[in-house]
């Protein structure tokens, strides 16, 4: 597999209009079942969270400070982590990292073991009821690897993911991750210049607990406000050390067994 440029999403929530085109475009493209019809009372959010049947989720947060109203809207998605615990724990090879650096579930391989579900530090990946397999955003792997110019071309030469294609205000931007990080830094600078002091980036930093996200965000408040973990850490961070310790223990055990046999024969 030739490794292409790492591609990603930059979701600039400061220009999100909460239209949910991303949710619908995603479902239409990927033929995802509905999550059911429930009025949740969480402002205009009636899909609740990312799960097996919602791969883009728009959060709505109504805030009142000193009589001034602010309505935050933010389209959440799988973060396509640099260090992806879901992939680490997948025993079947269903989850894999693509040539674009994205993390994708292969639906014909997944056996529904569900190990990946608790592994995700963001609570994104989920098993579908009645199907059992794990599902999440693929960053429209089929679209982004397509050739030609049948739609808005992403920089990778393929098509843009369905959500970014539909987004009316370019709140969802798709492109090479490095380029997006630069763009995001400039946007942040601009907003700070305009006095939007609370603006900050989330998931952009390769030094964070997941090695940086392939899908990162510009937020206007603390991550918790949007339902995002403030300091996510890859749940398999300690696995190598654990395996080393386990290995040492196993060696020691083996040595002891050998020693006992040796001893026994003496």
């Amino acid at each position: 597999m030739s490794v292409a440029e790492r591609m990603g999403f930059f979701t600039d929530t400061s220009i999100c209009i909460g239209c949910k085109a991303c949710e619908v475009a995603c479902k239409e493209w990927n033929a995802i079942p509905t999550d059911g019809l429930d009025l949740l009372g969480m402002s205009f959010d009636n899909t609740g969270q990312l799960d097996a049947n919602t791969w883009r989720h728009v959060a709505f947060v109504e805030q009142t400070h000193d009589g001034d109203l602010r309505w935050l809207m933010s389209s959440d998605v799988c973060k396509h982590c640099t260090h992806a615990a879901c992939l680490d724990v997948c025993p079947t090879g269903s989850l894999f990292r693509t040539e674009f650096g994205t993390v994708v579930v292969q639906e014909d391989i997944c056996n529904g073991c569900g190990y990946c579900v608790p592994a995700c530090p963001y609570g994104v990946i989920d098993q579908r009821q009645g199907d059992g397999r794990a599902w999440k955003c693929t960053m429209c792997y089929d679209r982004i690897r397509a050739g030609g110019d049948g739609g808005r071309a992403g920089s990778g030469g393929g098509l843009m993911p369905a959500c970014a294609t539909a987004c009316p205000t370019e709140s969802i931007q798709y492109g090479p991750l490095d380029e997006l990080r630069d763009r995001a830094a400039r946007r942040l600078e601009q907003l700070h210049g305009e006095g939007v002091a609370q603006a900050r980036l989330y998931g952009h930093d390769p030094a964070d607990g997941v090695g940086g996200d392939g899908a990162f965000f510009l937020l206007l408040d603390d991550p918790e406000v949007y339902g995002l973990p403030p300091d996510p850490v890859v749940t398999t961070r300690d696995l190598p050390a654990m395996w080393r310790r386990a290995g040492l223990a196993a060696l020691a055990m083996a040595a002891a067994v050998v020693a006992s046999f040796v001893g026994g024969s003496s």
Partner: protein, 839 residues
């Protein structure tokens, strides 16, 4: 705009990115407000007070764009001395007849002009002002002017006096908008005016659906003219319309009072003869392009009746039906209730949910001989006899309902070819992707074949009334397994052609009044120029200028910006390089620029019409408003409106507040239907709250194209009502619990959303609570609920006969509404307490 036209809103975001200030004024904080720089909450139904306050601010501080105002508007024109203002008559203009409830507009004329001898009552009944969507009403050429604007009867001074009491304090008192907030808007708007800067004003049915809807838009237009924001890039008064081709269905009207291109449907008294009709359109002696209207009228009749239409028989003028009064959709529905209508076609429209007074709509449909519903899904208007709310209350018993119902499934937009006209007058052609499934057919198929079958059945008829059907030019080519008529052939007929050769005409200036041309809609003439479907042009936006003149086709003559002569100064030079759009190229002796100039291409800016000139020759080289009969933008409307030459704040027909400005409470000329099944609440304590309704991004109008879809239904799965925390506390409502809303017509229930996005307002010294409901829901579909439009009664704007369905008064109670027969008893109890019903 972000709520209902999200993709259009990308351009607002683009403007914001480039430094534009975005102001949003709305009774409720919406997704648009969330992205705006400033949000202004306002009491529903008080926009004229707010905008009138802006006019007063502009005039009081002399912040108008004076050079533009003087040259391009009627500010300097002198009005007749008999005119009396609402300031003189406590909320009425001169000429009001309290018995008929209409004005004699004679005293509103410009000085020296003979009063219009029209019949205002008939004009209101037939929504005559709607004709002016393409052109201004007629006035004689030649006006008295005072270029110093000091004459006490010049429009500028009249305007100043009229709005003098619309002070920031008054705005606060009427609208509930704090004066600081109001002044912030005034300052931003006026600062952004002049040679270098323009502002755009955007509205939707939040303006049109009022008893003063036309005057709302007029007030906006006055501000935009005063600030020089009309006919210039980045300016304008922009209507965001809500259906894919609702502009098209106005231009090529499926409307009772119009024929294509805003020609009037004949009135039995006003247009008894062909020459009466043509004279009423042309108004011999007036200025501007409308003087050629005989050619448009004759060409339409030739398109309708082909060879049968001759000069000798007045081109079959006698085949046209005649209006005698109000034949609008609301009068028609009330006639259905009264058993006067036999059959009803519903073509992609769902009045059981989408029209005001849903109960009258459904009971009317239950009293027909037959009903034909054509739609994609089984909408409420198709199933009301089976599962409508009146079946639940026992008012409608299926076994006793005589209406025969045909449901014919329709072809979708991808299963037929044809053109939509979008909100900016742009025609875009759609290619067909697949054949329609099963029995699904296009409307083109349905109407063509219905006409064909009817003509077959009448073929042997000798009855005079059947001549119009048999003479019809109805020979469209068909193709495919279902004999689909050719939409392209129909578009060619709309464009117009030379009768002898069949060649398409190049535009409406090529139309003749001698029967040698046929044209289905003169304003669309040019859409097939050169034999090419111009609406199908798709040169990518990235490969052409920002005007994108080669994408689709805009009427008239592919002009993207109307009255764009105003983008240049009187001498023909751009007001500024930044705002250059079209300009006079003196070297070439032509108008040129980024768009098709909306002006005679070779008319020098210095051209002055000779004395006594009429028609196009009477338009001066610096008169940009070529479809207005004096070439000017009208701050003051001397003729053509039913309810006054200037906008005036009246309270909605239902309001909890006495009009703080005048003794006259509501629009005195509003169109009412006083009858027991259409009660309206006078100011009463029984209905203390204001309610308003609108759309959600996730649904579409009456839900026929959204509540049947899983992906949209799950995003907004249930009918709800938004209330402020203060009102929730006052009425004991809890978030997500049920509540019900009661009006003089109906009671509907919904889940409660308590939100700060609604806020109580201080109005005239008291607290006014407003509630909001989406109007998408009904009983059919995946997501079902009560219909908010059931809450409204029927009372209309007098100019265009559009209903007031954006504001009314109501009560709000916790818990679910009654069911079964108890429901009507519950509403009747309110009517008795409000004094609207005895016993």
């Amino acid at each position: 705009m972000a709520e209902c036209h999200p993709v259009g809103f990308q351009w607002v975001m683009e403007a914001k990115r480039r430094g534009a200030t975005v102001i949003h004024i709305d009774p409720r904080f919406t997704r648009t407000s969330a992205l705006a720089d400033t949000y202004v909450p306002i009491r529903a139904g008080t926009d004229i007070a707010f905008l009138g306050g802006v006019v007063n601010y502009i005039l009081g501080n002399e912040l108008d764009f004076r050079e533009y105002v003087l040259a391009y508007t009627n500010a300097a024109t002198i009005v007749d001395e008999s005119y009396q203002d609402t300031e003189d008559l406590d909320g009425l203009f001169s000429g009001f007849d309290p018995e008929k409830g209409v004005y004699d507009p004679g005293s509103w004329q410009y000085a020296g002009h003979a009063p219009d001898s029209g019949d205002t009552d008939a004009d209101r009944e037939t929504a005559r002002p709607l004709r002016h969507e393409s052109h201004g009403p007629p006035i004689p050429a030649g006006t008295e002017r005072d270029e110093t604007l000091r004459h006490p009867r010049c429009v500028y001074q009249i305007l100043k006096r009229h709005f003098a009491r619309y002070t920031p304090e008054m705005v606060e008192r009427v609208c509930g908008v704090p004066r600081e907030k109001f002044l912030e808007v005034c300052q931003a708007w006026t600062r952004n005016s002049g040679r270098e800067r323009t502002s755009a004003l955007v509205y939707s049915v939040g303006w049109t659906q009022h008893t003063v809807g036309v005057q709302y838009i007029r007030t906006g237009a006055i501000i935009q003219l005063l600030l020089g924001n009309v006919g210039r890039p980045g300016g304008g008064v922009l209507a965001l319309r809500g259906h894919a081709s609702i502009q098209g269905s106005t231009d090529i009207p499926t409307l009772f009072n119009l024929l294509p291109g805003y020609l009037p449907m004949p009135h039995h008294a006003q247009h008894a003869s062909f020459s009466d009709w043509v004279a009423a359109i042309r108004h011999p002696g007036q200025k501007g392009f409308w003087a050629d209207a005989r050619a448009y009228a004759v060409s339409l009749l030739k398109a309708y009746w082909g060879d049968a239409a001759t000069a000798e028989n007045d081109y079959c003028y006698g085949h046209l039906p005649r209006m005698t009064g109000d034949h609008g959709t609301y009068q028609t529905v009330l006639n259905m209730v009264d058993g006067k209508v036999k059959g009803y076609f519903l073509l992609g429209q769902n009045p059981a949910v989408g029209s005001a007074h849903g109960r009258a709509q459904r009971l009317g449909m239950a009293n027909l001989d037959w009903l034909v519903v054509r739609d994609l899904y089984l909408v409420e208007s198709a199933t009301f006899w089976k599962d409508g709310p009146e079946v639940a209350t026992g008012e409608l018993v299926p076994e006793e309902c005589r209406t025969e119902v045909f449901f014919l499934p329709a072809a979708s937009h991808v299963e037929k070819e044809g053109s939509f006209t979008q909100t900016q007058r742009l025609l875009q052609w759609r290619e067909k992707a697949v054949d329609p499934p099963g029995d699904c057919r296009s409307e083109l198929w349905f109407v063509y074949h219905l006409g064909r079958i009817i003509r077959q059945k009448l073929a042997a008829s000798t009855l005079p009334r059947d001549r119009a059907v048999l003479d019809l030019a109805w020979d469209y080519p068909v193709s495919g397994q279902h004999d689909e008529p050719s939409a392209t052939a129909v578009l060619r007929e709309i464009n117009g052609f030379e009768v002898a050769s069949g060649e398409p005409v190049s535009g409406y200036t090529a139309l003749k009044d001698d029967g040698s041309t046929a044209c289905g809609c003169w304003i669309y003439s040019g859409v097939f120029a050169g034999g090419v479907n111009q609406a199908a042009r798709r040169r990518p936006g990235a490969e052409q200028s920002w005007v994108a003149a080669e994408w689709g086709w805009a009427w008239p003559m592919n002009r993207r910006l109307l009255y764009n002569r105003a983008s240049a100064d009187p001498s023909g030079r751009p007001w500024s390089p930044r705002k250059a759009y079209v300009w006079w190229d003196a070297g070439k002796g032509r108008w040129t620029g980024h768009d098709v100039p909306d002006f005679e291409a070779d008319k020098d800016p210095s051209y002055r019409p000779p004395l006594g000139a009429t028609g196009v020759a009477a338009i001066a080289g610096d008169d940009p408003f070529v479809m207005q009969s004096d070439g000017k933008g009208w701050l003051y409307v001397p003729t053509g409106l039913i309810d006054g030459p200037l906008p005036t704040h009246y309270e909605p027909a239902e309001s909890p507040v006495a009009n703080p400005l005048y003794r006259q409470q509501s629009n005195p000329a509003r169109k009412t239907y006083p009858r027991p099944d259409n009660p309206l609440d006078p100011i009463s304590a029984v209905f203390p709250y204001v309610f308003t309704v609108s759309r959600l991004t996730e649904h579409h109008t009456a839900g026929g194209m959204s509540r049947h879809l899983e992906y949209l239904s799950e995003l907004q799965p249930e009918m709800f009502i938004e209330v402020s925390p203060e009102l929730a506390a006052e009425r004991g409502l809890s978030h997500l619990d049920w509540a019900h809303v009661v009006t003089a017509r109906a009671v509907v229930e919904a889940r409660v959303m308590v939100t700060d996005r609604l806020t109580p307002l201080r109005v005239a010294g008291r607290t006014i609570h407003q509630i909001w409901l989406p109007y998408h829901w009904g009983g059919a579909g995946l997501s079902v609920g009560d219909s908010a439009n059931d809450l409204f009664g029927i009372v209309l704007d007098p100019n265009v006969l559009i209903q007031e369905s954006k504001v009314g008064t109501c009560d709000l109670r916790p818990g679910r509404r009654p069911t079964g027969p108890e429901l009507r008893r519950y509403v009747d109890g309110y009517l008795r307490r409000a004094g609207l019903r005895k016993g």
